[in-house]
Symmetry: C2
DNA sequence: GCCAGTTTTCGCCTATCGGTCGAAAACAGG
DNA sequence: CCTGTTTTCGACCGATAGGCGAAAACTGGC
């Protein structure tokens, strides 16, 4: 479960109390029930940590099935990427907290590799889908959005360009309202939202498009 | 397992002999061994159908885990996308043959949904990675490559543009040789290959790039 | 040989997109 | 009212994608 908080991309981990890998940090998860699919299961598991309604996006990442990934037992994991909007601060159990993804504590099993996969998937999808909606609050300023993208991607992006690219793709729309300026003054920032409809990931933006068929609109 | 053959994207299916879903068409696969991971397993399963050395690319697609997906038993499947270059015609068992993905026969279980996922994944990755290498022979003409992309994407692409886009990304390089013209004559076509190195999927080509830092090369 | 028909290649044109910069707008505080 | 701050927006430029048609290079028939 990833979230941009305090300006950096962070992952929710809990500290194991028992062996194996006691005291190491672990991703939330657990066994699959007989009557549920893996997505239902991961939501049930996450519900023990947070309010699942706060999850803005959940998608499968990959299956991790190395026979030696868990010592002494055969455990096959379906890893998920979960995202939480940056305006939410879920209440978490005492053994659980957030860690910046680029300075992880000692992790249990192959959970560090899973985190790496999650980061890469998120960064890639920010570029060619509308996945940004899952990191952002319902309304936000362009500079706030810029911070979110920078944190998730790991490098600075231009606010001007970000706004133009997302707008041109039809993903961004102004709410009409403005945010009050900070303590140092400054022009009030306009608030935007991701175009509503369903908050789901759209098709990727393809290059090598089909032939144009010259849309001769009225 | 997908391949472009006879100008269309086709999937390898085998016809089930026994219940459940007798006579329906099924994707190759099977149970996971105790000492193998899912990728090793799928390669082992595929080896019963074809020569696995002919597989140019294998990647995880998704986990299908609906409790009712297989009647009477709990079966969780990790679906894979496998690709075979178009110049290869694997010898397959008698119960096995290729079917165009847009006119599938009655399929077993949820295998039609799995095929749909595979098509979408392939089409998306052709746009923003170098995955084309896995569909193409070691050397090919631009128009042959155009056919491959058109078949896999489901729409025509321009040969001129395809060559330019792939070349600009540094994915394509001329072999120097040319292919003989067809029976109707025509200029001999130059042969190209995907730039060698490892035949692996590269990072996606991201939009929203990091700031330029003015690469002041030597 | 020469010509018609075919297929590929390549240069050119245009529209759009991505990246950058700087001026102008809008605010707070002194 | 002036200064400092932050946002917004227009303008510019290079890179990229899409499209077109002329030229190149071949085959086969006359």
């Amino acid at each position: 479960m990833l979230q941009v908080r305090a300006g950096s991309l962070q992952v929710m981990l809990w500290q194991r109390g028992k062996e194996p890998h006691a005291h190491r940090w672990s991703l939330p998860g657990g066994g699959l029930g007989d009557e549920e699919d893996v997505e239902t299961s991961i939501r049930r598991q996450l519900a023990e940590k947070v309010d699942v309604r706060q999850l803005s996006h959940v998608e499968q990442l990959a299956v991790f099935s190395n026979p030696a990934r868990v010592p002494g037992a055969r455990v096959i994991a379906t890893a998920f990427l979960g995202l939480v909007p940056s305006d939410i601060d879920p209440v978490v159990p005492s053994d659980t907290c957030w860690h910046p993804v680029d300075s992880l504590p000692p992790t249990a099993f192959d959970h560090e590799a899973i985190c790496a996969r999650a980061r890469n998937r998120l960064a890639a999808k920010l570029s060619y889908t509308n996945l940004g909606f899952a990191l952002a609050p319902p309304a936000f300023t362009i500079s706030a959005l810029r911070s979110l993208y920078s944190a998730a991607l790991g490098y600075k992006v231009s606010a001007t360009n970000l706004q133009r690219v997302l707008s041109r793709r039809g993903l961004l729309e102004p709410t009409g309202a403005t945010a009050p300026p900070g303590p140092a003054g400054g022009r009030p920032a306009a608030l935007f939202r991701f175009v509503s409809g369903e908050m789901r990931v759209t098709d990727p933006f393809a290059v090598l498009r089909p032939p144009s068929t010259r849309s001769l609109g009225p």
